[in-house]
Structures are given as structure tokens and as C-alpha cells.
């Protein structure tokens, strides 16, 4: 049984200017100890996916489908039970380490509160001891426990945020664009840290990013989202070396590589307006290979050589 199984998930936001469909029937799964990369542009629904899994969507969101964590459906779980699962079985690391820590609480107190709340530590000292040990393994000196968030650098804060996500040994960590707010050098360190965590803790992860290059490095499998739908899903190595969907190919070509001779090519056009997605294949207005069929008919998600792809030209 998969650790996380998302089945036919639909998310709609009701806004003043109309209904926005952020996710349209997405199904995927994360196995024990596996890192699943989720890639896509802004507005592809990748962050909505992460928030839907941990059930943190705004009230205006309408959710259909199911999110099974260890067989328990998180979408219908009562609030009380959900609270016990959050933090202990599934946790999350956010994009912006500058605002995801409470400015008036010491780093140590973040850990103490979390551990005492979940009964993972009986005393303050016990919690601080465990937190210090974990932080040191994550490359943050133990003395930082006494500091306030503003005394730390962005990279250190993100390490602390990762520590907070790991301290209760959850089975699934959702990492939502965790390096986007950091500079390139720190990004590298954090990615190395994620790889190390993956090796040492065997934690399953939903690694959400817009950067195909990072996915290629940390993920085992990758799900490519476009306009709220799965475009392609498969083993990272295969997807990267031989993308089946034109969108995946375009994403790969838009990643810069130092010293690479390959031409950097941006994807033409813009992501569709999700209040009114295009008919047929949602990528057809930007697809260089689009045919008349793509404009009319929605391509089904089909298996092809051990992976899933939604494209008329490849099925």
C-alpha cells in the first residue's frame, strides 16, 4: 500500500471574478521512503496540491476526491484527529524561511512547543536536548536554540524549518518551493541537506518546485503538472532523459546549466487563465506540435513504457 495516495482530486476556488479550477482530477501516489517531485509553472496547481494534502486550503476552496495517508482519508477526517496527524505523520516546509518562524519566539521554543503539544517530550529540557541534536545534524550550531529568528541567516532558518518538520519523525514531508527564496549558494546547501535527509531518515517527500533541475537531483519519480492536470508522471531518470510530453520537454529546456552549450529556450506564451481553461489539451496554445485534434479533444492519461503521459501525439 502506498503511503500517500491522492485519488481524482479536484480543487476549485470561488473568487469574485469567477470559479478557478486549480486541480482537475489529479491522481498520484508516494511510496514509503520515496521522494516524489511535483513540477510546474506558477498557477499549475502544484502548491494547491501540497496544501490540499495537509488540508490547509482556504475556506473558499471546494475539494473533491480523496487524499489517503496510510489508508486514512484526510479530506474527511475530523479536525481533532487531523491535528494529531499534522506534525506527527505529515509535516511541511514552506517557501519563505523569513516568515515561517514566529518572530517573537526563540528557536528552541518552536521545538519545545511542537514536541510538548504532541507529547514527544515530557520536559522542556528533554525537548531542547533532542532539538539541539537534530539541529547539529542539520548543520546548525546548538547555541542557536537561544536565538530569535531574526538573528539567523536565511539558510539557517530554512534548516531550522526543516528541523521542525523532521523532529517528530513524520512519514511524509511536504516541501513547497523550499529553495525559491534563497540565493543560489544556499540553495545548493539546502538541496544537499535534503538529499542527506532522504538518505538518513528515509522520509517520504512531496518535493514541490518549478525547477526541473532540482527535481532531477532529489526526486525518485516526478509528476509534471500543467494547468491543474497531470501531463506526465514517471521515473525521474527516464522523464529527464526522454520526456514524452512536449511540456516536460519545454520545462527541461528552460533550465539554465552552467557551462552548457545547449541553447536556453523559454516556453512561449503564458499559463492559461484557469477561470476559463482552453478546450482540448490544455497545453495546445503553447505547444509547437499541436494538431487539430489537440484543440478539440482532451488527451487521456495513458500508460506508455512504465510511465503516464497525457498527449495525443505519444499515445
Amino acid at each position: 500500500m502506498s503511503l500517500l495516495r491522492v485519488q481524482d482530486l479536484w480543487v476549485r476556488y470561488r473568487t469574485r471574478r469567477g470559479v478557478v479550477e486549480a486541480l482537475s482530477g489529479v491522481s498520484l501516489s508516494v511510496e514509503e521512503g520515496e521522494v516524489l517531485g511535483v513540477v510546474g509553472e506558477s498557477g499549475s496547481g502544484k502548491s494547491t496540491l501540497g496544501l490540499a494534502v495537509i488540508r490547509l486550503l482556504p475556506r473558499s476552496a471546494e475539494v473533491r476526491g480523496s487524499v489517503l495517508l496510510n489508508g486514512k482519508d484526510l479530506t474527511s477526517l475530523p479536525e481533532e484527529e487531523l491535528r494529531r496527524i499534522r506534525g506527527r505523520e505529515v509535516s511541511m516546509v514552506f517557501q519563505d524561511p523569513y516568515s515561517s518562524l514566529n518572530p517573537v519566539m526563540r528557536i528552541g521554543d518552536h521545538f519545545v512547543e511542537l514536541m510538548m503539544e504532541h507529547g514527544a517530550a515530557a520536559t522542556r529540557e528533554e525537548a531542547l536536548e533532542a532539538a539541539g541534536e537534530l539541529l547539529e545534524r542539520l548543520g546548525v550550531p546548538r547555541e542557536r536554540l537561544n536565538d530569535y529568528p531574526h538573528q539567523l541567516s536565511g539558510g539557517q532558518r530554512q534548516r531550522v524549518a526543516i528541523g521542525l518538520a523532521l523532529i517528530l519523525k513524520p512519514r511524509l514531508v511536504i516541501a513547497d518551493e523550499i529553495t525559491t527564496a534563497l540565493d543560489a549558494l544556499v540553495e545548493r546547501q539546502i538541496i544537499d541537506l535534503v538529499k542527506e535527509v532522504k538518505r538518513e531518515y528515509r522520509t517520504s517527500m512531496l518535493f514541490i518546485t518549478h525547477n526541473m533541475g532540482l527535481v532531477a537531483e532529489v526526486a525518485d519519480r516526478v509528476a509534471v503538472l500543467y494547468a491543474g492536470k497531470l501531463a506526465e508522471l514517471g521515473e525521474v531518470r527516464e522523464v529527464v532523459s526522454n520526456p514524452l510530453h512536449p511540456y516536460t520537454e519545454a520545462l527541461l529546456r528552460s533550465v539554465p546549466r552552467i557551462g552548457g552549450s545547449r541553447e536556453l529556450r523559454p516556453i512561449p506564451g503564458e499559463p492559461p487563465d484557469m477561470r476559463n481553461p482552453p478546450p482540448g489539451c490544455r497545453f495546445h496554445p503553447r505547444c509547437p506540435l499541436a494538431t487539430e485534434r489537440c484543440r478539440r479533444e482532451e488527451p487521456p492519461l495513458v500508460e506508455r513504457g512504465g510511465r503516464l503521459v497525457a498527449c495525443h501525439l505519444r499515445s
Binding site: 495537509i54 490547509l56 491535528r83 494529531r84 496527524i85 499534522r86 506534525g87 506527527r88 509535516s91 511541511m92 514552506f94 519563505d96 516568515s99 515561517s100 518562524l101 514566529n102 518572530p103 517573537v104 519566539m105 512547543e113 511542537l114 503539544e117 504532541h118 524549518a161 521542525l164
Partner: protein, 293 residues
């Protein structure tokens, strides 16, 4: 020690001095000036002397071989104006302190509740608070004070009700913006209970805003208290009180007995000035960005 620099530092220095003076008066004033604040009789060596009314400031009076000086004169009943002015600090500051504490506490609790819970409760509370805010403060206080009657606690309650909406609106606004702050969402995701989210994550981040409102609303409370007692509400004579004495002095002012009203009036102005200076200059020193904007 260096000299203060700029408006804010001077304001803080002067304000602190004034506030310290008035706090000292409130604590010790009554015992310093003795009985002459509330009666016109002096007892010297077992003999009772009556002080004549309406003595001008600086008058000297020799009773039983002892010289008394009335630097602010005596009022229409022969009581020492200086003694009344000094011991009047206690009543007004007690009322201001109590009412500020009550309104800050209630306003903060209601604001937290309204902002965090939202929905129907928020609608109802906001409607009630906005209606109160729209109502002229003093008139509302007069109505409540008239209803509750005399006494320190009653007049404090009357004033507190007027200032609850200020705290409520400010706290609610901050809570609404903090509710979607990433660190609060992080706490939700970490499985924190609503109680610990409100008390540990949101409340400590609201405290600076509450603190910066305190001195200003304290000064406001002094003015409102003076307004109420000026009208004779909430206080029982002969308790010394500036607002009450100001009104009595008003009746004698045109007849030439200016000192009865002017000195209590000055005390009201100076005490309000002191707290406002502290509040404003602290805001400016601690929150430089807010002033620039």
C-alpha cells in the same frame, strides 16, 4: 549622561518627568498635604481654627503661633487649593489606570476572538463595536456613569466601555493579518491547538501594538474622567478632583477668584500632556518607520 536630542527624546524626557511627578502625587500627595484638602479647619495644640474662604494665592495666615502659607489660595469653602490639587491626582489616576486596564483587557480578548474565529461572531461584534465607536465618547460615558452612579469602580467602568472599541479594532486588524502569516500556518500544520495558536503565536505579536496604544488611551481616559466629574458624575464630594474643582472654580472665575479653577485645570492639562508626550515619543523612538510613513 548626554542631553536628549531631537523632539522625540526631549518629549520622552519631559513626559517621563511629568508622569513621574503625577504618579508620585497620586501615591503620596494626600499624606503630604493633610486634612486641608477636604476641610477648612486647622487643629493646632488642641484648638480648632477656621480658615477663611477665597484667600488669594500666596496668602499667609497665622494660627496659634504657627504660620500657614496658601500658595494657591483657598476656595469658596476655605479649603486649601494646593492641597486639593495635589491630592486630586489620586482619584483621577486611579480611574484612568483602572479604565485603561479594563478596556485594554476586554478589547484585546474580544479582538482576538473576533479576528480568529471570524464568521457570524465577528460580524456581530464588529457591528456592536463600530456603533459604539461612532457614538461620541463622552456622551456614552455620561450615560453609563449616570446609570452606574458614584464610586471609583463605577466611573472606571463607564470610561472603559468607551475605549474598548479602540483596542478591539486594532487587535482584530492585527489578528486578521497574522492569521494567514506563514508562521501561523506552520503552527497549524504542526498540529498546534487553536488555544496555543492564539496565545503563543498571535497574542505575543499583538502586544507591541497594544503597548503603543496604552499611554495615549490613558491620557484620553484622564480627559474623559475630568469631563465626567466636571458634570458632577461619578464622584462624591468632598473627594478632591480636578474636573469637579474646575467646574466649581468656573462659577467664581468672573467674580475675580480665578485661582479656584485655574490650578485644577492646569493639572489636567499637564497630566494629559505628560502621558501623551511619553506615548508619542516612545512610538517615534521604537517605531521609526511608522512615523515616516
Amino acid at each position: 549622561m548626554r542631553l536628549p536630542r531631537g523632539f522625540a527624546e526631549w518629549g520622552l524626557a519631559v513626559g517621563t518627568a511629568l508622569v513621574a511627578l503625577f504618579v508620585a502625587l497620586a501615591l503620596a500627595g494626600e499624606s503630604l498635604v493633610g486634612q486641608l484638602a477636604v476641610s477648612n479647619v486647622v487643629v493646632v495644640d488642641g484648638r480648632v481654627y477656621e480658615v477663611p474662604p477665597l484667600l488669594p494665592p500666596g496668602s499667609r495666615l497665622t494660627v496659634g503661633g504657627r504660620e500657614l502659607v496658601f500658595i494657591m489660595g483657598t476656595d469658596q469653602l476655605g479649603r486649601d487649593v494646593f492641597a486639593r490639587v495635589v491630592s486630586g491626582a489620586r482619584f483621577v489616576l486611579t480611574v484612568a489606570l483602572l479604565s485603561t486596564a479594563i478596556s485594554a483587557a476586554l478589547g484585546t480578548i474580544l479582538g482576538l476572538l473576533s479576528g480568529y474565529v471570524g464568521g457570524f461572531l465577528d460580524r456581530v461584534l464588529s457591528l456592536v463595536m463600530d456603533s459604539m465607536y461612532a457614538f461620541p465618547g463622552l456622551i456614552l460615558a455620561i450615560a453609563i456613569a449616570a446609570l452606574l452612579g458614584v464610586g471609583v469602580l463605577n466611573i472606571s467602568m463607564a470610561i472603559a466601555v468607551v475605549y474598548i472599541p479602540s483596542y478591539y479594532r486594532m487587535v482584530r486588524g492585527v489578528v486578521l493579518s497574522l492569521k494567514s502569516a506563514p508562521f501561523v500556518e506552520a503552527a497549524v500544520i504542526a498540529g498546534a491547538s487553536p488555544w496555543s495558536i492564539v496565545t503563543r503565536h498571535i497574542l505575543p505579536n499583538v502586544v507591541p501594538q497594544i503597548v503603543s496604544l496604552l499611554p495615549v488611551s490613558f491620557a484620553d481616559a484622564i480627559i474623559t474622567e475630568a469631563g465626567l466629574t466636571f458634570l458632577g458624575l461619578g464622584i462624591e464630594p468632598p473627594t478632591p478632583d480636578w474636573g469637579f474643582d474646575l467646574n466649581k472654580g468656573r462659577q467664581f472665575f468672573l467674580a475675580g477668584y480665578w485661582w479656584i479653577g485655574v490650578f485644577p485645570g492646569l493639572m489636567i492639562i499637564l497630566s494629559v500632556l505628560g502621558f501623551l508626550l511619553v506615548g508619542e515619543s516612545l512610538n517615534e523612538l521604537l517605531n521609526p518607520r511608522k512615523v515616516e510613513a
